[in-house]
Symmetry: C2
Subunit: 126 residues, 2 copies
C-alpha cells in the first residue's frame, strides 16, 4: 500500500490506512498486549499467514504497530501497538466495536455476542 500525495480530507487517508479485511482485527487483538506472529495467527480465526504478515507490515510502516526482534534461536518476534499513534487508532476502533455491538443487538444477533462472552447472559428483555 502506498500513500497518495493528495486526499480529499485527512479522514480519507486514515480510512485508507486501515483498509484491508484484517487490519482492525489485528489492532484489536494487540490491545491485549505484545504478541508473536504465531499467537496472532492462532487467535485470529480464519486469517492466513500471508494476510497476517502483509497487514502487519503495512501497519508497521504506517506507524501504528511496532516490532521487537529478539536475536538467537528459537526465533522470537513481538508485535505491539505504538503510542500514541496505535493507541489513538484503537480508541476509534473501540467506538466501532460498540457500533457493531449496537447493530447486532438491534438485529437479533446477540447470540453470537453472548457466545463469545462479549455480552453477558440474558440481556435486557424487550
Amino acid at each position: 500500500m502506498k500513500i497518495r500525495a493528495v486526499y480529499t480530507c485527512p479522514l480519507e487517508l486514515t480510512h485508507d490506512m486501515i483498509k484491508g479485511k484484517w487490519k482492525p482485527i489485528i489492532l484489536w487483538r494487540l490491545r491485549l498486549g505484545p504478541t508473536s506472529l504465531s499467537k496472532l495467527e492462532r487467535d485470529i480465526e480464519g486469517i492466513t499467514q500471508k494476510m497476517l504478515l502483509q497487514h502487519l507490515k503495512e501497519l508497521t510502516e504506517l506507524g501504528f504497530i511496532g516490532k521487537t526482534v529478539y536475536e538467537g534461536y528459537p526465533l522470537k518476534v513481538e508485535y505491539f501497538l505504538t503510542r500514541p499513534q496505535g493507541e489513538k487508532l484503537l480508541s476509534a476502533l473501540q467506538i466501532m466495536q460498540e457500533i457493531g455491538i449496537d447493530y447486532m443487538v438491534e438485529h437479533g444477533m446477540q447470540d453470537a455476542l453472548i457466545e463469545k462472552g462479549i455480552l453477558p447472559q440474558v440481556p435486557t428483555k424487550k
Copy 2:
C-alpha cells in the same frame, strides 16, 4: 453489500459497513447538516454520481443515513445522519480525522491542510 451471518468480532462488522472509498467522506460531509444529492456531488471532489448513490444507499440501509423525499417538482431529496447511529459513527470518524491530521503533520504534508483551512497558517515551528 450484504451482512454476513458471522463475524470475528463486532468491530469487523462495522469495518465492513464503512468499507468503500467514499463512505467516510460522505458521512463526514453530512455532519454539516442535511443536503441533497447534487450538493453532495458538487462538494465531494472526484466522486461520481454512481458511487455516491451506491454508497448512500448502503449507508441508508445500514441505518447511518436517513432520507427525506419531498413530493412534487422540482424533485427534492435530503440525506442526513441518523441519531444516534450516524452520529455515533461520526464520533469514530472524528478521531480518524485527527489521526489523519497527525500523520500528515508528521510527514510534511501540512501544506495541503493549510490550503483547505483545516490547519491555521504558520503552525508550530519545529
